[in-house]
Amino acid sequence: MPRVDDAPPRADHELMPVWQQDVGDYVTSTVFTPDGALCLVGAGSGDAVALDGATGAERFRVRAHADGLLGVAVSPDGTRFATCGHSQSARLWSLAGEPLAELPGGGAAWVEHVAWAPVGGLLATGAGRRVRVWSAEGALRFESEPLASSVTGLAWRSDGSGVLASCYGGVTLFPMVAGARLRTLAWKGSLISLALSPDDKVVACGSQDCSVHFWRLATGKDSQMSGYPFKPRALAWDDEARLLATAGDANVTLWDFRGKGPEGTRPIQLEGHKALCTRLAFAPRSGMLASGAQDTSVLLWEPRRGTRPLRYAFLDDEITALGWHPRQRAFHAGDAAGHVALWKAP
């Protein structure tokens, strides 16, 4: 009997999750510990929830920031994690959920960003217009002068020798080694996100005026990619620092930084989502890209091979967190309704 399906079969291209869990409120971030044992989830309710990396079962939950949690970051040595949110302090926790330290933001502003240095054990926080750097034990090591406006993004150099912060007015590079000078990359625009290439050569920022602005750190030369219909917040670099994935609408736009690019080149466009793409994450090593969107889908791509999605996965609401498993070919995502899931990539 012929019939109409409003949700046509997705055939064998849809991935089923290894596990799925409901943490109860808007997922603001998901991140695995380096050994893959725990998946730490930040929830809009203010809870940090630790899920079993293998099964998704809830291991513990802490009320980290009563009015809302914005960021969770696990230390690279896998011994602790940091949280921040709608409160005036960031917090350090053990992987058993015991509080270790409170890191005050020094004012009325929320601490909106936490980022661990890849090596060296330092943690950076962004609260209002200041960047602070702390030891793994929570001792204040550095406090910046106020920037031109509130910090909107933080990233460490891969060797831990400096931390970059974006805000309205540009990017500031704070050196964490003796004798090096602070560096500013000025841009009269509102930068809303920041991503440093894995080879530390290029810093890219999403901008409120629907463009992506980037600087080559060696020369300080800047360029801009424009033409996005909406502000491109989501940014991701591949492992080789060759492709920068960006999204300012349903399409994922990739810029190739090989050779003299991306200036004068046409970007790769990945069409598949039906609504604004909100999250992007490249897999370590494999070159596979995951993209999450407001249409509740996560799509998997191999952008260097083709522009058709390899696999689809779905949650129940806008995708608000996305990342890759540290050890397996697997990716995890969270949505605005509180769901978190892990899928195996092909």
């Binding site: 409120d25 009015d67 809302g68 929320w110 406006s149 509130s150 509102s190 409120q208």
Partner: protein
């Protein structure tokens, strides 16, 4: 999904913003309200989430004023949406000297906020005792008044009633759209400041049908029963060196304030009107008006009003009679009007900031309107703070409603005209507006 309403509270330091804020929070205790404060107020309410933030005003590109927004609001409101128990209402308290433009524009310009929040209204508090000072020397003060959907004249207990009346009239010439409330200690009905629908034109009109009332060149009308003979029109110095008036006969049962009578008065008003010196005579029912000129001498001046035949007459005056202590007397006895009414005047006291409202019969050509508005906003957008309109577009079944802030505007089809009289109304509030030019150019958009 219902958008979360946002109310912006502006006003100078000491105007009573924090008092009003605390009243709202106390009386709306069933609601979840988030307050974004840019000054450290003394909000003493526990259940509301109070967020302190620096006002971060960003120019998006090229310093274009319409792209000036509040970055802190974009960030904070975006973050507030990351929780299941959403807020019922957001209050944004600006700093005393804030220009309301960037706050309002933020909700037009930012993609994320546009989808989730609706700017409900701008509430401006003024300290009735001190605002007169600021009106003259502060651009910020004038702009806060011009942007408002609701104006709260606060601390009225400290100001004599006559001064309050004069202040309210002055403020109304600057912003003809706002609802004006008087208050002591910011005690206004909460439903008059929250969910006012100031940026929802259809609702704004339901709440203030006066928006559609025609404007007349006179501010006051009185209905008088007069005997044949002569009366004295006595007046003292007022805000202008002369007072224009028209006196016309009314038909049986007609009030001077009726629309028909006012229209007749407007036609007579438009005729050349002689300047009269004190002592000169003016005939009731003349086919033109007169200007009673006060210069020379001081104290009360008397003009003669000759009534050719007994009957009911309508008197129309450029300003309120109280502003000139105007009295109509016969043999030393004051004749009071049977009825009187204030009408919406178009004149201004040379304010830099003012409003212009235009009523047009006939259908508008959409292409011409587009061309005119784009040119107007490109050239004068900086000086146009707010505009609102309901337009009768040729070939459109529905009313076309639009409203804007500086160069940004948002227009759409509203409900069908149905049996309602199809006509267009347009209001501008801004700085150095040329009302005559705007009227002429708008009239050129007629089919």
């Amino acid at each position: 999904m219902r958008k979360i309403p946002v109310t912006v509270l502006t006003g100078f330091l000491g105007a009573g913003k924090t008092t009003l804020l605390n009243r709202i929070l106390t009386e709306q205790h069933g609601q979840r309200i988030a307050v974004i404060e840019n000054e450290f107020g003394e909000t003493g309410i526990d259940q509301a989430l109070v967020i302190n933030a620096d006002e971060e005003i960003f120019e998006m590109n090229n310093g274009c004023i319409c792209c000036t927004v509040r970055g802190d609001l974009i960030r904070i409101l975006g973050n507030l949406m990351k929780r299941r128990d959403k807020f019922d209402h957001i209050l944004v308290e600006t700093t005393g000297m804030a220009d309301p433009g960037p706050v309002a524009q933020t909700f037009f310009v930012d993609d994320d906020l546009k989808d989730l929040f609706a700017l409900d209204g701008i509430v401006t508090l003024v300290d009735a005792g001190h605002v007169a000072l600021h009106l003259d020397d502060s651009r910020e003060c004038r702009e806060q008044i011009a942007f408002a959907d609701v104006l709260v004249l606060n601390k009225t207990d400290l100001v004599p009633p006559a001064e309050l009346d004069a202040l309210e009239r002055r403020i109304r010439t600057m912003n003809g759209l706002a609802r004006v409330l008087r208050a002591e200690r910011a005690a206004v009905p909460i439903d008059a400041v929250l969910d006012v629908g100031g940026f929802d034109l259809a609702r704004a009109l339901e709440a203030r049908p006066g928006f559609l009332e025609p404007e007349y060149p006179f501010e006051w009308t009185g209905t008088f029963t007069l005997d044949a003979g002569t009366y004295a029109l006595a007046l003292a110095e007022g805000p202008d060196p002369s007072l224009k008036l028209v006196v016309l006969p009314l038909s049986a049962g007609e009030e001077a304030s009726s629309r028909e009578a006012c229209e007749r008065a407007v036609r007579r008003w438009a005729e050349p009107h002689p300047d009269l010196a004190p002592g000169a005579e003016f005939v009731a029912g003349a086919s033109h008006g007169a200007a009673l000129v006060l210069d020379g001498g001081t104290g009360v001046r008397r003009f003669v009003l000759r009534v050719p035949e007994a009957g009911r007459y309508g008197l129309y005056t450029q300003h309120l009679p109280s502003e000139f202590a105007l009295q109509l007397t016969r043999d030393g006895v004051t004749t009071l009007p049977d009825a009187e009414a204030e009408v919406r005047g178009t004149h201004t006291h040379d304010e830099e900031v003012g409003s212009v409202s235009i009523h047009l019969e006939g259908a508008i050509d959409e292409k011409r309107l587009d061309a005119w508005l784009s040119k107007l906003l490109r050239e004068q957008g900086n000086d146009i703070f707010r505009m609102k309109g309901i337009l009768n577009i040729r070939g459109m079944e529905n009313r076309f409603v639009f409203q804007g802030v500086h160069m940004l505007f948002d227009g759409r089809e509203d409900r069908p005209w149905g049996d309602a009289h199809r006509a267009s109304d347009l209001v501008f509030i801004g700085r150095r507006l040329d009302g005559d030019l705007l009227r002429r150019e708008f009239a050129r958009c007629l089919v």
